[in-house]
């Protein structure tokens, strides 16, 4: 029983990790006032670059960073359009969603003999699990109950023996929250998202902050993609991301543009999927058609949303380009 619960929690964490990264990206960009509907495209870019770098170098950390960097570069396009050239941010984001996968698959064909998938990442090239060896050591060296607590498939093992990305994601939530609400730059970011002109009159460089945020947004979306391609699985293929970016976008709005809110929304979604897996197994006490069960996460999200009273508070200047010489 307890193990079942632990499994559901563990699966929730695994499933929601790529979403959390990506939704955090959305949080950062949108708090500075730039809509980022291009998360899906940025995530695809990150997933591809992560898998490719991991394949060629065998170094997951380098791959992870490269994924963030590549997606940030893609985000730079979005920043140029929406910050410098006052683009319609939704349109620019949609463009990113064509460009990201387009470029990623194009490059994939160049690097992998025409394939739209990468080769499997060699052993050791994927994200390590930081507690894995510790738990094994503990279970072998502690005696009695204490040892059993860390055994494979024990509650602790099921919940905590996760890819490093899971912990990085959770830390990132805290870090983004901290930056947004506890630091100078965070105050400025939020000011720019709410009232860019006010920030400008106080000598804050709106353009710089928005560039920074949009690129950070890309970086996190890239991390999200990499969390799929080098942690959950060990390769990239065309269909790997399929829709996760949009789910993260929804989670970000659902979480009312707050890092912790976005995280909970992603976890809700992850938990719903964990339940689908749990109830979908043969031994499950309830037997429902798999297709009906698959709808659960989406229906659940809709229901929860209607239950949330009041409208979500988007940053006031969200989607409005800031132009200096106008009233």
């Amino acid at each position: 029983m307890l193990e079942s619960l632990a499994f559901i929690i563990g699966t929730t964490l695994m499933y929601s990790t790529p979403l959390i990264f990506t939704a955090l990206g959305g949080v950062i960009s949108e708090n500075s006032g730039v809509i980022n509907i291009g998360l899906e495209g940025m995530m695809t870019m990150g997933a591809f670059v992560g898998a490719t770098v991991a394949y060629f170098t065998g170094n997951p950390w380098l791959a992870f960073l490269a994924a963030g960097l590549a997606a940030a570069l893609l985000a730079l396009l979005h920043a140029v359009a929406s910050v410098t050239y006052s683009a319609n941010q939704v349109v620019s984001g949609i463009a990113i969603n064509f460009l990201g996968p387009g470029i990623a698959l194009f490059l994939s064909r160049m690097f992998f003999d025409g394939a739209t998938m990468t080769k499997p990442i060699p052993l050791g090239g994927t994200m390590p699990r930081p507690f894995h060896n510790l738990f094994i050591w503990l279970s072998e060296n502690l005696s009695g109950t204490a040892g059993r607590m860390f055994e494979s498939n024990s509650v602790i093992d099921l919940i905590f023996d996760q890819d490093a990305t899971v912990f990085i994601a959770l830390i990132s939530v805290f870090a983004v929250w901290f930056v947004l609400y506890k630091t100078k730059i965070g105050l400025r970011i939020r000011a720019v998202g709410e009232h860019p002109k006010s920030a400008d009159t106080l000598g804050i460089n709106v353009t710089k902050i928005r560039y920074f945020c949009v690129m950070a947004s890309g970086m996190f979306a890239g991390f999200g993609g990499a969390a799929l391609s080098i942690a959950i699985v060990a390769n990239f293929r065309q269909t790997l991301v399929s829709g996760h970016g949009f789910i993260a976008l929804a989670a970000m709005i659902f979480g009312k543009w707050k890092p912790q809110g976005a995280m909970w929304a992603c976890m809700l979604f992850g938990a719903a999927n964990a339940l689908v897996v749990f109830f979908g197994r043969a031994a499950s006490p309830i037997q429902i058609s798999q297709q009906l069960l698959s709808m659960l996460p989406y229906i659940l999200t809709l229901i929860v949303l209607t239950g949330i009273v009041g409208r979500a508070n988007a940053p006031k200047a969200l989607g409005v380009p800031y132009e200096k010489d106008s009233n």
Partner: protein, 314 residues
């Protein structure tokens, strides 16, 4: 190139949405074409499809390019090909994973694989090798092809040891690797130690789970041992390349089996277990498998391929 002017036969294929280098049966199909090019002197080419709506126009494009034989790779192209064959009686077609039955027009060949046969063999291996008495099967979506894998596997396990329990779960997706990983981990948690998948991209998650939990996974379609050399026990292979090469050969020899359904099983060398199986499967067990193979070829064992045939066989 110069070859364009040569008086060789031409053969082309339309891939399904996976693309030609999908490290799965589209790729295998293309390898079959390439072999036909090399050994039989065919001119070969392919067109990729990005969505279902591409099949028909791609087919037309290949017809326009003047090919002698056009392949559709995947059952989803079944109707498209039938229609094209009806409209163009002079054009020859063939399709993988689809059969038209008796009223097929005679310019069309359906190629079916007995996926249940290699699945039976890997099921037998799993049934023998499991230490926990539990194994798993992860399916993509509930398609007849996937059912053939599933029931062949079930029968194989039962043949090895009727007391071994098999967890069967479908992901209802061919793409969501994370779901595949979660299902597989769940199966391991429930005590399974070997999991077989027939689930496309979802299978990436299955193999990732095996790698992480250091348990066994069984690959599908091609030899997937490269994905996790220490954890992919064996694979149920489907030699689309051989099938295509064989039909091409028949075409060249003037025996194009138009109007027929070519069913390829162990006997025809179109399916089998992965050559790397000897890495992890003990030799004596492989010997048993070889025996079974012979029996299947001889018709002594008829492997079930659907729920009904499976129930009937028990």
């Amino acid at each position: 190139g110069a070859t364009e002017e040569e008086e060789g036969l031409s053969m082309a294929m339309v891939t399904d949405v996976g693309g030609v280098n999908d490290q799965s049966f589209n790729q295998s199909a293309w390898e079959g074409h390439q072999r036909a090019e090399k050994e039989l002197g065919f001119n070969v080419s392919y067109l990729e499809s990005n969505q279902d709506a591409d099949y028909h126009p791609n087919m037309e494009t290949l017809m326009g390019a003047g090919n002698d034989l056009i392949w559709g790779i995947g059952f989803k192209m079944g109707d498209t090909i039938l229609e094209a064959a009806n409209n163009n009686p002079d054009q020859k077609f063939a399709i993988i994973d689809y059969a038209y039955g008796d009223d097929a027009p005679d310019n069309i060949v359906g190629v079916l694989f007995k996926e249940q046969e290699p699945s039976f063999l890997v099921g037998y291996i799993a049934g023998k090798m499991t230490e926990t008495g539990k194994v798993g099967f992860v399916g993509g979506m509930e398609f007849p092809v996937i059912h053939r894998f599933q029931y062949g596997f079930l029968a194989g396990v039962a043949h090895a040891d009727p007391s071994v329990e098999v967890f069967v779960q479908y992901a209802d997706s061919f793409v969501d690797a994370a779901i595949g990983k979660a299902i597989t981990k769940q199966m391991y948690l429930d005590g399974a130690d070997i999991v077989f998948h027939a689930a496309g991209g979802v299978g990436d998650g299955v193999i990732a789970a095996a790698l992480e939990e250091d348990k066994w996974a069984i690959g599908v379609d091609r030899d997937q041992n490269d994905l996790a050399p220490d954890n992919v026990l064996t694979s149920a292979m489907k030699r689309v390349d051989n099938a295509i090469f064989n039909v091409a050969e028949m075409l060249k020899e003037g025996n194009f089996p138009g109007g027929e359904t070519v069913v390829i099983g162990l006997a025809e060398g179109g399916v089998g277990i992965a050559p790397t199986s000897d890495k992890h499967v003990p030799a004596d067990l492989l010997a048993e498998v070889a025996e079974l193979e012979k029996k299947i070829i001889a018709g002594d064992i008829v492997v079930p391929y659907s729920e009904e045939t499976f129930e009937a066989s028990r």
